[in-house]
Symmetry: C2
């Protein structure tokens, strides 16, 4: 007999069904007992006779056979009159560490400590349904635009983003690093003939930040695109993705978005605002000073408010970051090499993307490395690729958890991560 | 003007087109020059006048405008009469380290050293087109079967597969490990209410094997499925995937499979052969002794020959591995706890999958850990999940590079990896 998901029960009225799931709630009335059964797709009311309730506890994993029948008073307008119920996963607890069937104030750290239980709460699990849909949409959009999916190493002999924020690995007899990004490799794969590539993979930052928006291991949605005219092509690509994503989520995650009580952001036409202008606006309109060559978290928030008032969108591209603030591979403007063809994308006050055009000329790259006090020899495996006809190219990286957090209205990035890794957390 | 890919030129006959790609071959006849242009999708002949060939070198990245016209003698039955050509990615080499436009005997290590160049060879790049299609088919098949895609941490506080073959990471002030598999986490996510999950992610093995079939970093196609009857459900799932995969590849990668000169394996009905029987067959038919509780590489090869003769398939499931040879979480048979509900899948003499049913009862798992001389306390983050109603479950892991290698008829797993990591290779 085929197992039926709760979501599909409506089509089974009057039929015998096989259900599988967990005991979400028990309401014992003596002669009959109402049990809410929870599966991956939803909740349904079971009606049990006295003899069938033996041994039932909250969160037991059960298999149920019964007749699906209409009942206006039941949550879905239907219920299942149980013919047989079997406990297939026996609980072995004294007290549940977290309630699954009601909302209670629980510290986030407690929810993360008992992740298998907290994720059983439909509302806690909902962001991950949205997250999966984001990833699906990302793939669909890029594949339709001739991008190839790649998988590149996360154990490296040299860093990609510069700086010391790298985790070290003992790799046999040598020391290696965990990838901060697939930056070098995605560029190399553009040059290797794939032209347009994307990767959905982990990135590692040994940053000493333990905040609501930082993770030390995260999923990066990476894109790199060859034969572009300028960084404007990359921004257009991302804007196109956001326009594709929102209706996709609306269609595929309606129930989860409702459960989370969120409205998706407006994409509209995303303004492209040079950093210097953004800083001026903050100064003039809000009296807010910004750090040199950047916006701080407060500035990002204020600016987003300004953008929402002024334009028909919740997004803004900040462009033309100073050369000194961007990595060595970033393309400077020809007419002003102190600023770069780079951008960040902010969504409602949070940076969710960094991108830009890259240097593609071999001599230019090598001389820029020297200007950055790097030894090109240390990066020969990377620079070699630029000697054989590297087309103009650029790309971007979206932090999957950050995007999920913003779209789901969460306040801490750990809620958008199944099993987060931060400075203090290596388990579960 | 919109860029046209070579693959779509047939629809552009008589039109002006914009092409982008690399100079694959130059045939200079003086007044006219034929150039083969290579893009991501194929090769096309360009016809240049004398003035247009200036500065052209092999592998330069170019943008070309011209008229697409019929020519029976040209490879695609068409060519492009160039109106304008611009070098957008200038080469800066003396000699190409590897020829791109002809087959030559090059050592694999040389091809891996110069990966950006060797991958420009369409035949070297073809396995990755197949690889991407494998991943797509895997996702499509599982998503259609109600599986959720997950992303789990690769930095762990404890090993999952036992043994010492783990890379260590300095994680702030503590020592951590790179994940050998997402085993614990995919089980936990089944229990967390996802019921059915898959992950496409890196796995790390610090094995001291430097062979044609080992990588120290590889992509694992992981599946875990809750509410199963037994390990037979998992084998049925994988058999279904293989039946889905072959026509999918035939449809999406026909050109690449032809270029590689391979025929896809027959799936048919995959026999499920207990290990002890397999060892007997090897002994009786080939006089081949096997190591206790396993097959060796030669045994796997001989057995595959036997399977192909006896059945209508290139695959075989080897089942009922001894308890002592499988990890602690493997479910033993009730009637004979010395053997387990586990399996390997062999394709033409190579193990491409390990799978089985897992222990789901908390007390059973804890006592098995003790029997394996493990301290359950060390795995509390994992065992805790089993206290709240863990359904019967099982899963499998397919080595993506191994499957790609077999389907593409490659002889070394490094040819199925963009940028392999092995004992001796950390670059490029």
């Amino acid at each position: 007999m085929e197992r039926i998901y709760v979501k599909s029960l409506q089509e089974q009225l009057g039929q015998e069904v096989l259900l599988k799931g967990w005991v979400h709630r028990i309401h014992d009335l003596g002669r009959i007992t109402f049990v809410m059964l929870r599966d991956k797709t939803g909740l349904v009311q079971l009606v049990l006779e006295e003899s069938q309730k033996e041994g039932l506890r909250l969160e037991a994993a059960v298999e149920v056979k019964g007749i699906c029948q209409a009942n206006d008073k039941a949550p879905l307008g239907l219920e299942v009159a149980v013919a047989a119920i079997a406990i297939v996963g026996k609980p072995d607890y004294e007290v549940l560490p977290i309630a699954v069937n009601r909302e209670e104030q629980v510290h986030l750290e407690t929810k993360l400590d008992h992740r298998t239980i907290s994720l059983r709460q439909p509302k806690t699990r909902a962001p991950f349904v949205v997250q999966q849909a984001i990833v699906e949409a990302f793939r669909q959009y890029l594949t339709a635009n001739h991008f190839s999916e790649i998988h590149t190493p996360k154990i490296l002999s040299a860093g990609t983003e510069g700086g010391s924020e790298m985790f070290t690995v003992k790799y046999f007899d040598t020391r290696a690093f965990l990838a901060q990004s697939p930056q070098f490799y995605k560029q190399m794969m553009v040059g290797a003939g794939f032209e347009r590539v994307f990767e959905i993979g982990h990135a590692y930052r040994a940053e000493l930040h333990n905040t609501w928006r930082h993770l030390n291991e995260y999923v990066s949605l990476d894109v790199e695109m060859g034969f572009i005219e300028s960084e404007e092509d990359i921004m257009a690509l991302e804007e196109g993705f956001m326009r594709f994503l929102m209706p996709y989520l609306q269609e595929h995650c309606q129930a989860e978005l409702e459960l989370l009580g969120v409205t998706l952001p407006a994409v509209g036409t995303i303004p492209r605002l040079p950093l210097a202008e953004a800083q001026e606006i903050l100064q003039e309109k809000y009296g807010k000073a910004s750090p040199p060559g950047n916006l701080d978290a407060e500035g990002e928030k204020l600016l987003s408010a300004y953008i929402q008032e002024t334009y028909d969108t919740d997004f803004v591209f900040i462009t033309r970051y100073p050369t000194a603030k961007r990595p060595v591979y970033t393309m400077p403007f020809e007419d002003d090499p102190t600023v770069t063809r780079s951008f960040d994308l902010l969504l409602n006050g949070l940076e969710i993307t960094t991108g830009g055009q890259r240097i593609h000329d071999y001599q230019h790259l090598v001389s820029n490395m020297k200007a950055f006090d790097l030894n090109p020899e240390d990066f020969a495996f990377y620079t070699e690729s630029f000697r054989y006809g590297m087309p103009p190219h650029g790309g971007l990286a979206i932090g999957l958890e950050r995007l999920t957090m913003k779209l789901c209205g969460l306040t801490n990035i750990r809620e958008a991560t199944l099993l987060p890794r931060d400075m203090k957390r290596l388990t579960p």
